[in-house]
Amino acid sequence: MIVPMSHILAFSAALFVMGLACVLAQRNLIMILIGVEIMLNAVGLTLVGASALWQKVDGQIFVIFLMAMTSAEVSISLAMVVYLRRRKGTLEADAFDGMKG
């Protein structure tokens, strides 16, 4: 390990919080998705760090799965963004309240 694990975790947490802040603060669907990507990457950093810490390959493999899932998620969500944009003409998240109880 070139750096202590705690430092990696700190970086990772900082990234994650930034992503979360983006998700919470932004109203634009695209920006919210970008925030989600940041959070996912923060997790990826943790996994790789853990992999290095325990000298095991599994963490890295999880990152690969993570990436695969992310690409699936992004493809669907972007398709939906296109769909919603065409449907309502906006990407403001609060405009979509079809699930209102």
């Binding site: 992503g19 990507e37 890295q60 690409s71 998620e73 493809s75 669907i76 398709a79």
Partner: protein
């Protein structure tokens, strides 16, 4: 030296991310995010995950972010150029700075790599990685690949639906 580079890369990634999430223009945000991803990829590399680092660049920075950009362009989400005010350095300065730092770090890493004679403490070669992936996690690979297939089908369906809806919607609002 290596750990110094790691910290530099870390703060670069944080800075890029911070810039990313504060942008109003999605295009800018994506560009900053690409920077952050590059920095992350290098950190992965330093932590003994060259293959993950490569994929970070190829899949995230290469495919996913391009897809974002493509959608943003297609939906014309970026504000018109007239709205983008301020001098040129203010617009391009941070990006350039970040890119330069990352480039420098890359070169430095290449230098360190050349300097060292032994292998790092933990280093997963693509061969070992592949062996583990397709041996231990064969089932998971299958599942994930199915997942990708479903995602493709879903995306196709959603896109097609919106297309049909649009053509109908124009006739009867």
């Amino acid at each position: 030296m290596a750990s110094a580079i790691f910290y530099i890369l870390g703060f670069t990634a944080l800075a890029a991310t911070a810039l990313c999430i504060t942008r109003r223009n999605p295009v800018h945000a994506v560009v900053y995010l690409v920077n952050a991803l590059f920095a992350l990829a290098l950190m992965f590399y330093q932590l003994g995950a060259p293959l993950v680092a490569a994929w970070e660049v190829i899949i995230y920075a290469g495919a996913v972010m391009v897809l974002f950009l493509f959608i943003i362009m297609m939906l014309e989400l970026a504000p018109a150029s007239a709205e983008m005010q301020g001098p040129g350095w203010r617009r391009w300065g941070p990006v350039l700075l970040l890119s330069l730092v990352i480039l420098g770090c890359t070169l430095a890493l290449l230098g360190i790599q050349a300097d060292q004679d032994g292998v790092p403490a933990f280093w997963v070669s693509p061969r070992a990685f592949g062996a583990a992936l397709f041996d231990q996690y064969a089932l998971a690979v299958q599942v994930v690949s199915f997942q990708l297939l479903y995602a493709a089908v879903g995306a196709f369906y959603v896109g097609k639906g919106s297309l049909r809806r649009r053509t109908q919607g124009e006739e009867t609002p």
